[in-house]
């Protein structure tokens, strides 16, 4: 399946979430969405599969001090 273009991805995400935008705010939200896509690329840092998200809801004491 082809990767949707950004505008299609934008519309699909809003529709799936059940959200609607006033027409006059669509351009500003789409600009925000494009900026978020740029940021999202940073998350694609290569990580070994074993790097798990176990930040844990409980912070741990900083080791070594």
């Amino acid at each position: 399946m082809p990767i949707p273009d950004p505008e299609t991805e934008f519309d699909i995400a809003l529709a799936r979430a059940g959200l609607s935008l006033p027409p006059e705010r669509r351009a500003a939200m789409f600009e925000g969405f494009l900026a978020w896509r740029v940021m999202r690329a940073t998350l694609e840092e290569p990580l070994p599969p074993a790097t798990e998200p176990a930040f844990g809801l409980r912070q741990k004491r900083t080791p070594g001090r």
Partner: protein, 464 residues
């Protein structure tokens, strides 16, 4: 007491202990200060005058009967209006919450009440701790007491304004990306984001479960330490609360910084676009710390693009999870800025969120490693002095994200305090960031700097 600013927590505490200040007189002075200034500054949403006076009279009677509960007994405080206080509305500064009434206290409120403090009211915030300073809301937005045309910081804007204007000695705020530290920075006071899990968030309306921190804003570092002595501790009913012992935060606060190592995160500041005048103030702070016997070394923090991606992805996803139903069915009741920023969470996938949490663990370990070799990290509290309100970015997704959010991502404690004044006489600020659960060391370092630098003594240009 006159109509001037109320004393700091420590000053009030000493005066009450000595019998030279009564809780009723102090509470009346705070109410008079609010009445005189708040029509212009809009720090308060609710002023609980009768409740405060009744609590002050009860505190005074207890103290006179020899039953003083501790150093905070009889001193007024105020809450950001996302904290619950039984019998008062929690509006979150939103039309969506106008009909709410808290049935019980937040755990933090309960702790301050148990310490004998006097709740004087509920404070302005950005809507749901997420919107911006020009959103059209049911209550006006707080104004910076140094210059009403400038941003007071957010989202704990009323908390910063009320303390800076001398209406209260202590206000509680919440910090998901910098919302305690930025108002403290822009209003020229002290704000602490404690370690994640150190202070309960139960009864505080959430924005982002794994980034939210509750904490104090006050005039001095000592005042923050006094407040933290009452606020810190395990709450089994807050899933994020940590079971870590609470030390005596005041025991070593005056021990100085001789022999300590401070890690100067210059590259982090430069990457964050910190202004020249703030960089110069930070250099001066380093020189002062060295003159007090500390060693200052350069340290490298994770790149801002990584900490921003972690913090923003988690904030978007968790905030959307909380507000999704209302965004679908009551969207028009939000202010425009709040609504659009919350809606941005619709674009975050499950994989994005998990990837952000994985990366979060790595950047936290990287900051831990830096703190393994120094006692605290020193960086700017904000990139510059408060901008003009009309210059604040109120788009759905900011072009520049708060540098403070790096330590919401990692959970490390961070304290902000004044480090000078810039062009136009607006406060500049620095931040010390410490090891997890080592707020005591942060207080010691920040207190040494504060007393030597003396910036804390300056007050906004308001009636004396």
């Amino acid at each position: 007491m006159t109509g001037g600013p109320v004393p700091s927590l420590a000053e009030a505490s000493r005066a009450i202990a000595a019998g030279s200040l009564s809780p009723v007189a102090l509470t009346e002075a705070a109410l008079a200060r609010i009445a005189a200034l708040d029509t212009a500054l809009h720090a308060f949403i609710t002023v609980a005058k009768e409740r405060a006076l009744a609590a002050a009279r009860a505190a005074e009677a207890e103290i006179r009967a020899g039953r003083r509960r501790g150093p905070l007994h009889g001193i007024p405080y105020a809450l950001k209006d996302i904290y619950d206080a039984a019998g008062l509305p929690t509006t979150c500064h939103s039309r969506l919450m106008l009909q709410t009434m808290a049935g019980e206290d937040a755990e933090t409120t309960r702790r301050l009440e148990a310490a004998g403090m006097v709740l004087i009211g509920k404070l302005s915030t950005h809507e749901f701790a997420r919107g911006g300073p020009t959103d059209e809301l049911p209550f006006p937005n707080a104004r910076n007491p140094w210059d009403p045309a400038r941003f007071a910081g957010g989202s704990s804007s009323g908390s910063g304004v009320a303390v800076a204007a001398g209406m209260v000695g202590l206000a509680l705020g919440s910090d998901t990306a910098g919302s305690i530290r930025l108002p403290a920075s822009y209003c020229g006071i002290v704000g602490l984001k404690p370690t994640y899990g150190r202070v309960s968030r139960r009864g505080v309306f959430p924005l982002s479960f794994t980034l939210d921190h509750a904490g104090p804003l006050a005039r001095t570092v000592e005042d923050c330490a006094l407040a933290m002595q009452a606020l810190a501790g395990h709450d089994p009913l807050d899933p994020g609360s940590a079971e870590e012992p609470v030390p005596d935060y005041l025991a070593g606060i005056a021990d100085g910084v001789a022999g300590m190592t401070i890690g100067r995160a210059r590259a982090f500041d430069i990457e964050s676009g910190v202004a020249e005048e703030t960089l110069a103030a930070l250099d001066a702070a380093c020189a002062l710390l060295e003159s007090l016997g500390a060693r200052v070394v350069e340290v490298t923090l994770p790149a801002r693009r990584r900490t921003d991606a972690v913090a923003q992805t988690i904030l978007l996803a968790e905030g959307f999870a909380i507000h999704a139903e209302w965004l679908r069915h009551r969207a028009a009741e939000y202010g425009r800025v709040t609504r659009e920023r919350l809606m941005m969470g619709a674009f975050v996938s499950g994989a994005d969120y998990v990837q952000a949490q994985r990366l979060r663990r790595l950047v936290t370990a990287e900051v831990d490693a830096v703190l393994g070799a120094c006692d605290a990290i020193l960086c700017a509290g904000s990139p510059a002095a408060a901008p003009l309100v009309e210059e604040v970015d109120e788009g759905p997704f900011r072009k520049a994200h708060p540098m403070t959010s790096a330590f919401n991502a990692t959970g490390h404690p961070a304290i902000v305090l004044p480090c000078g004044f810039g062009e136009g006489g607006m406060p500049l600020s620095l931040s010390f960031v410490g090891a997890a659960f080592d707020e005591a060391r942060l207080f010691r370092i920040a207190h040494a700097y504060e007393r030597a630098a003396g910036w804390w003594e300056r007050r906004p240009p308001l009636p004396a």
